[in-house]
């Protein structure tokens, strides 16, 4: 992991954990804002620009953290494995939400939505 972040030719120190945590919060905040904005404006050009912004933020963060394939020693590669093992169940939960979300309009599966979603929508 690098300890400095290059942002618009400015070097930001990320050696402190508090700084890195702020970066994580800011990154997810930016993603959330973009997703909400895409839904709000619902314009294809805005959607395209948001995608570019998401990719740009991801590249910026990956410059700081590196990539799993670039792990220089066993400790670092183990940390990658462990981090992904911790994140993995959350992705599974999101997939279940995605399954439910696909049924909000399409009604392929009848067991997923009748009274439950009618209450909230």
């Amino acid at each position: 992991m690098n300890t400095q972040l290059n942002l618009l030719e400015k070097q930001i120190s990320m050696a402190q954990r508090a700084h890195r945590r702020w970066l994580v919060v800011a990154t997810y905040g930016a993603f959330a804002a973009l997703i909400i904005a895409v839904f709000w404006f619902s314009r294809s050009m805005f959607y395209a620009w948001s995608l570019i912004a998401v990719v740009a933020i991801s590249i910026m963060v990956s410059h700081l953290v590196g990539r799993p394939g670039d792990a220089s020693d066993e400790r670092e590669s183990y940390r990658w494995d462990h981090a992904i093992a911790r994140a993995y169940p959350r992705i599974g939960n999101f997939l279940v939400f995605a399954l439910i979300a696909t049924q909000l309009q399409s009604k392929v599966n009848d067991t997923a939505h009748p009274a439950l979603f009618a209450t909230f929508l």
Binding site: Y88, L95, V108, A112
Partner: protein
Amino acid sequence: MRAELVLMGKRLDMAARVHRRALVVSIYAGLAVLMAALWSADRWHTSGVYMIFATFLVNRLFLGGYNFGGLVKPFNGKVPRRSTYRETPFLMLALRVYQPTPDESEYRNDEREVHQRDRAHYQAYQVLTIALTVLWLLADWKMKAPRILAWLPVSADVLLYGFVLIAIVAAVTLPQAILLWTEPDMEQTC
């Protein structure tokens, strides 16, 4: 990881890697057949959710990992809930459904097993990333360019639902399958 599987009172030797690989292939073939059968039954209209129940049953009986009971030890390393009984439940004994408290070695992962678990999750994550990309593409085409999917014999909604189901099945079973597939032959203890 356990070296034998108890199925309907019969002990199956799983020390050899070839046996475990055969099990993994049969499980995925079985799940594929079940998914096709549910599709032909009612186009997943009410039966789609059964795929998820079937996946958890497969974990409980064969794979383990996210459920206690299969070949792979629980990933969280915690005692299964059933072992919290303070006294022996005689009714459960009489009904022959009581399972005694498992030994700590049956659910606690040692350092090597934790490392293997993390590695398997990392490998499964690569597959899941591809699945998520496919899902995103499908959802995007469905919303923005439905003509791309117009040639398909099924609707985009059904396709999306099917892919999300497959992604969930893969997410819940893949780390255990990778562990069973890659672990070399175990030594015979007796």
